[in-house]
């Protein structure tokens, strides 16, 4: 029954995509063309196959996950099409690839279940670290790192000096890390909760149990320093803190982690121009309007111009927003659909996060609880970091808005997260 409702909602998402493309086409004064039908087919095909994958490998899974992800993906796809039809057609390909990977992941999980992942805990940890470091490979190698806008986050595959594909390995590494942390923390839960050592006013667990926290701090600072990516390091630290807290219920972990990160960020702000500029732009965007404050100011102009109901799809000027298809896609949507649309999107993310934590709460064993809570936290933290940056609640961190920003690696990773969450919910309900 609920699988049928899911199918109906997914069909609705495909119709929404076709309508969105048609409206954009009409607004720009062109005749409706094949793009409308093509987008409908791609969305239906991608989410339809994921739906069938769920029927096959996780028939009792929550029916809310996939439609919410589809809704957000479709809104993003329409806005990307409105800004740059060429990017939208690339994103359609990525959607098909991500759905294919998702279906593959479902089939693997359908055979072994999520506990199958437990077996390869340390393989996940090592591969996460290796994958994180991949962008540091020399740029001259066929498979080498690539620096974009001052951050070295990209891996680029070239054949005969022709670029074939670019990928952000960090997106995948995040998932690997969540799996490792879930299984590691689930098994060390007791040790971390028992606070035996006193250090001044603080009570601490055995030092060796603190190793993960130290590692977390270390890794996020290394990323901050070597890849110059404030967003990824904030996300990682937030994820460590959230999962440690979920596993132990000790507020000391997020508190110490946050404090350590603040120290690191302040030092980095002093040491690196790149980080300093981000803080300046956040705190005083109007002082240096022409330079560091420009991006955030353009975002605020877009939000204000959108007002309550927006300019209408295709009728605003989101082309004035820098990086409108990636970091600032939320501002572009908010301009054209107004507060009505932007709140709907935030609500969709909120629902998705609520569903994810619901799965974590209903799970019966610590491992599944932590896995579900971790995956949900990754999605929630990314959403908060980038939307917060776009609306100047937080410093701007160049991070993809899950499902919505243009970018294949993020779409693949986020759909895998949804698929794993779905499988957990299936195992919980069975």
């Amino acid at each position: 029954m609920s699988r049928n409702a899911e199918a109906a909602l997914l069909a609705g998402a495909a119709v929404l995509a076709a309508l969105g493309i048609a409206i954009v086409t009409a607004a720009t004064g062109d005749r409706p063309d094949a793009q409308t039908a093509l987008t409908f087919v791609v969305v239906a095909l991608a989410f339809g196959s994921l739906h069938l994958g769920l029927r096959q490998s996780a028939p009792n899974a929550s029916p809310y996950l996939l439609p919410l992800a589809a809704l957000i993906t479709v809104v993003g796809l329409v806005e990307i099409y409105r800004l740059d039809p060429r990017l939208a057609s690339l994103q359609r390909w990525w959607l098909l690839i991500a759905a294919g990977v998702g279906v593959g992941a479902l089939m693997v999980l359908g055979r072994g279940g999520t506990e199958w992942l437990l077996r390869y805990r340390y393989l996940f940890l090592t591969s996460a670290i290796v994958v994180f470091m991949l962008p540091l490979l020399p740029s001259s190698w066929p498979l080498g790192g690539l620096e974009v806008n001052g951050s070295r986050l990209w891996l680029q595959l070239r054949v005969f000096d022709t670029e074939v594909v670019q990928f952000q390995p960090g997106e995948i590494a995040k998932l690997l890390l969540v799996v490792f942390l879930a299984s590691y923390l689930a098994s060390r839960q007791g040790a971390l909760t028992t606070l035996t050592r006193r250090l001044g006013p603080f009570t601490l667990p055995e030092p060796r149990q603190l190793f993960p926290l130290a590692a977390a701090w270390g890794v996020s600072l290394i990323i901050l320093v070597y890849q110059r990516d404030l967003g990824a390091s904030l996300l990682l630290l937030g994820l460590f803190a959230a999962m440690l807290y979920a596993a132990t219920g000790r507020g000391i972990y997020p508190a110490v982690g946050g404090g350590l990160f603040l120290v690191g960020a302040i030092v980095a702000g002093q040491a690196f121009d790149h980080v300093q500029r981000r803080f300046d732009a956040w705190l005083r965007p109007w002082d240096d309007f022409a330079d560091s404050g420009f991006q955030v100011a353009q975002s605020l102009f877009a939000l204000g111009s959108g007002s309550l109901t927006g300019s209408g799809l295709g009728l605003g000027r989101p082309d004035f927003i820098p990086s409108a298809t990636t970091d600032f896609v939320f501002a572009a949507v908010a301009e054209e659909t107004g507060l009505a649309g932007s709140l709907a999107i935030v609500a969709a993310y909120g629902l998705l996060v609520a569903v994810g934590f619901g799965i974590a709460l209903r799970a019966r064993d610590p491992y599944r609880k932590l896995l579900a809570a971790g995956l949900t936290s990754v999605i929630a933290l990314q959403t908060i970091l980038i939307i917060g940056g776009v609306i100047r609640l937080l410093p701007l961190t160049g991070i993809a808005l899950p499902f919505m920003s243009y970018g294949g690696s993020a779409l693949v990773a986020n759909l895998i997260a949804i698929v794993v969450l779905a499988r957990i919910s299936h195992e919980v309900a069975s």
């Binding site: 720009t28 219920g249 102009f301 959108g306 007002s307 610590p366 936290s377 917060g388």
Partner: protein
């Protein structure tokens, strides 16, 4: 471990709630402030994105047009194909720097915003195209180009009028600027122009008043002739210096010599040679009141109705009453007498037009998208400055200036040219070189006013006859010989 997970979920969802509140604030409460912020590029886009009608010269050369925005199918960008040639006449329409000149004064007819009149609403309902009217200027590309090349490298202004109608044939202020530099959302180009010490944005044709020097003697002569106090043959004393009563100041001629034989000299001779001694005396004879009335009859001390805002030219008659020395200096266009180049062109045009001042105008007609003429500007008589008889005598005097006097450089082969030079002394700097006059040939006529500030490239050696008159000759030739 459900309690920490619940708390974690609660914290994250509360942050979502904060995002909701902040979004509501940014988009609705503070939204209008961001939307209307001068730095929001959408404002410039929406102003420039509506189509505005084209502006063409009398020959049909396009000087302003709206073209489709390459970035957006339904939007337009303004473009000035002639660059700096019509910058002060046509102006620009810019978000950051506002609208100026014709783009400002005719903004309503040029823009395609529908109006709220009954006929406007009916047109809207019937789907008829509204607004975005085109303008045809009276300006001539040929004359305008000569004005530009004549003033090249110098600071000054040219105004040319068709004397019988008041059509402006040329209106050029130097240095000029490219109006295309002020468009767009970046203030860089406009800020540079604003900060330029040469003040290229200043419209020197209508918005700046300068001492007219001896060019003002046309008005002094007109006052003397019209009041019956003198005729061209009236003889005046010819001293080396005119001593001013109750004052130690004296008036000398430009060459520091006598005007004629040192005994007596006729008004006509003094006019031809631009003798300050004689015209200072005539000014005192006529008196400040009559001088003031004559100047006002030509348009001084009042609003000049025109397509651009005009700074009133000044002849401070009231302050000159009972002050003969100041009256004498004012009669030769010095002291506090100041005029716009447009006003001085109107003086010359009135003489050419049998004493009648025509209302100057720069837009001859408006037309719709199908080039149907919507409105045509009619020539309007503003007032009579002097009688036809006085105008005829002045015309003869001015013709003599060009044929036998200081204005020889203004001659145009085959045409009858009349004029008056002026070399206005500027304390501490080179003089302003003036020429005002008119030429006629085979029923075509053009009145012109040329000023080159601070001597232009000639510097201290400049005089109206050597610097301004040759430019005037080229301008008149461009109009008269083209016909």
């Amino acid at each position: 471990m459900n309690t920490p997970i619940r708390r974690l979920a609660l914290v994250l969802l509360v942050i979502f709630g904060v995002i909701v509140l902040d979004l509501t604030y940014l988009q609705v409460v503070a939204g209008p402030r961001y939307r209307d912020d001068i730095r929001n590029p959408r404002l410039a886009a929406s102003r420039s994105s509506t189509e505005r009608g084209p502006i063409v010269t009398r020959e049909g050369v396009v000087v302003a047009e709206s073209t489709a925005d390459p970035n957006s199918a339904q939007e337009f960008v303004r473009n000035y194909p002639e660059g700096d040639l019509y910058a002060h006449a046509v102006g620009y329409t810019s978000l950051l720097f506002g609208n100026t000149a014709i783009e400002r004064e005719y903004s309503q007819s040029l823009s395609s915003d529908s109006d709220l009149t009954i006929s406007g609403i009916i047109d809207e309902l019937l789907g008829r195209e509204q607004g975005a009217e085109g303008l045809r200027l009276t300006l001539s590309q040929a004359v305008q180009l000569v004005a530009q090349s004549g003033l090249a490298g110098q600071t000054g202004a040219v105004v040319a009028l068709e004397p019988t109608t008041g059509e402006v044939l040329a209106l050029y202020s130097s240095p000029s600027f490219d109006p295309n530099a002020l468009l767009g959302s970046s203030p860089v180009g406009g800020d540079a122009l604003t900060a330029d010490p040469a003040e290229p944005l200043r419209d020197r044709t209508t918005a700046q008043i300068l001492a007219p020097g001896s060019a003002f003697k046309v008005i002094t002569a007109a006052a003397a002739l019209e009041s019956g106090l003198a005729n061209p043959d009236t003889l005046y004393a010819d001293p080396l210096e005119l001593t001013l009563p109750g004052s130690t100041a004296v008036i000398r001629n430009a060459d520091r010599a006598t005007c004629g034989d040192g005994v007596e000299v006729a008004l006509a001779t003094a006019f031809r040679r631009s003798c300050n001694t004689v015209f200072g005396q005539i000014g005192m004879d006529v008196g400040a009141e009559v001088l003031g009335e004559t100047a006002a009859a030509f348009g001084f001390n009042g609003e000049v109705p025109f397509d651009l805002p005009v700074t009133p030219s000044v002849f401070p008659a009231a302050s000159l009453l009972n002050d003969p020395p100041a009256t004498a200096q004012s009669a030769i266009g010095q002291r506090d007498v100041q005029a716009t180049p447009l006003q001085m062109a109107m003086v010359a045009a009135a003489v050419a037009n049998q004493g009648v001042v025509m209302r100057p105008y720069m837009v001859s007609e408006t037309f719709d998208r199908d080039l149907n003429i919507l409105n045509q500007t009619a020539a309007v008589e503003l007032r009579r400055a002097v009688s036809p008889g006085t105008a005829s005598v002045l015309s003869d005097l001015m013709t003599d200036v060009v044929e036998n006097g200081t204005g020889g450089a203004a001659r145009v082969p085959g045409a009858t040219v009349a004029g008056k030079t002026g070399t206005a002394e500027v304390p501490g700097s080179a003089p302003h070189a003036w020429f005002i006059g008119f030429g006629t040939l085979d029923g075509r006529a053009i009145a012109v006013s040329v000023v080159v500030e601070n001597g232009g490239t000639a510097g201290d050696l400049a005089s109206g006859g050597t610097v301004a008159a040759p430019i005037a000759a080229q301008i008149m030739a461009a109009w008269l010989l083209a016909g």
